[in-house]
Symmetry: C2
Subunit: 109 residues, 2 copies
DNA sequence: TTGCTCCTCACGTCACGTGAGGTGGC
DNA sequence: TTGCTCCTCACGTCACGTGAGGTGGC
């Protein structure tokens, strides 16, 4: 199996090494091995997992919440996602009003 | 002139005293007086200013950016707001796609 | 004296950013 | 030896949260 270096992971995920380190500190991710120079190595399962974390973060979950969700049974995930979708829709509506208000303000400047 | 207590400010703005303290530390707000017991007092100009800060925060500006903006000439404000509106619209589009993707995911669960 | 509210520090939190100090192949 | 990359701490940042310790009127 081809293993990925930390740098390759970072490039694929568009994050810095510090972000990956943060995931490790949060107990979300772990290198599968190190090469003879001590360089960190990851496999495809790690990559998938890191992508999942990224996706949950985009949805607005904290790393702590993600830790509870990422290996949770499906109904837990489902409920969390449904709640989050509602929150995001409210946030979008809030942003819409804010943009509207700001465009009015810009006209009056 | 009727002065407002810190508590009244907080209630009107729906923020905690710590938030107001943060504004003061950032150099954005200052009490106009203290009563004989040392309690902080604010006037209507403070309230307006705090509301402005809140509004800028909702738009996504940091306290540091707000410090640059709040007393800036109109064209500086205009440019900043126009940029921010564009950012917010991109963010809204991103959220829309994210919600769409998540609703698809929910169907498949 | 007790209970309540207000004050001013000041450390904690979250998700990283940003060096510091050290290692190993080229 | 120099330059480059990688490593592991560990303090810094941002906008507050959350006590700690002290004051004053009731």
């Amino acid at each position: 199996m081809e293993l990925l270096s930390l740098k390759e992971m970072c490039n694929l995920l568009h994050v810095t090494r510090r972000t990956i380190q943060g995931y490790e500190q949060a107990g979300l991710l772990k290198d599968v091995d190190k090469n003879k120079y001590g360089h960190l190595l990851y496999d495809d399962a790690c990559l998938d997992r890191a992508r999942k974390v990224r996706y949950f973060q985009e949805l607005g979950f904290t790393l702590g919440e993600i830790k509870e969700l990422i290996d949770a049974p499906e109904w837990v995930l489902r409920e969390a996602l449904e709640r989050k979708v509602k929150e995001l829709m409210q946030e979008m509506e809030h942003l819409r009003l804010l943009v509207e208000k700001t465009e009015e303000l810009l006209k009056s400047l």
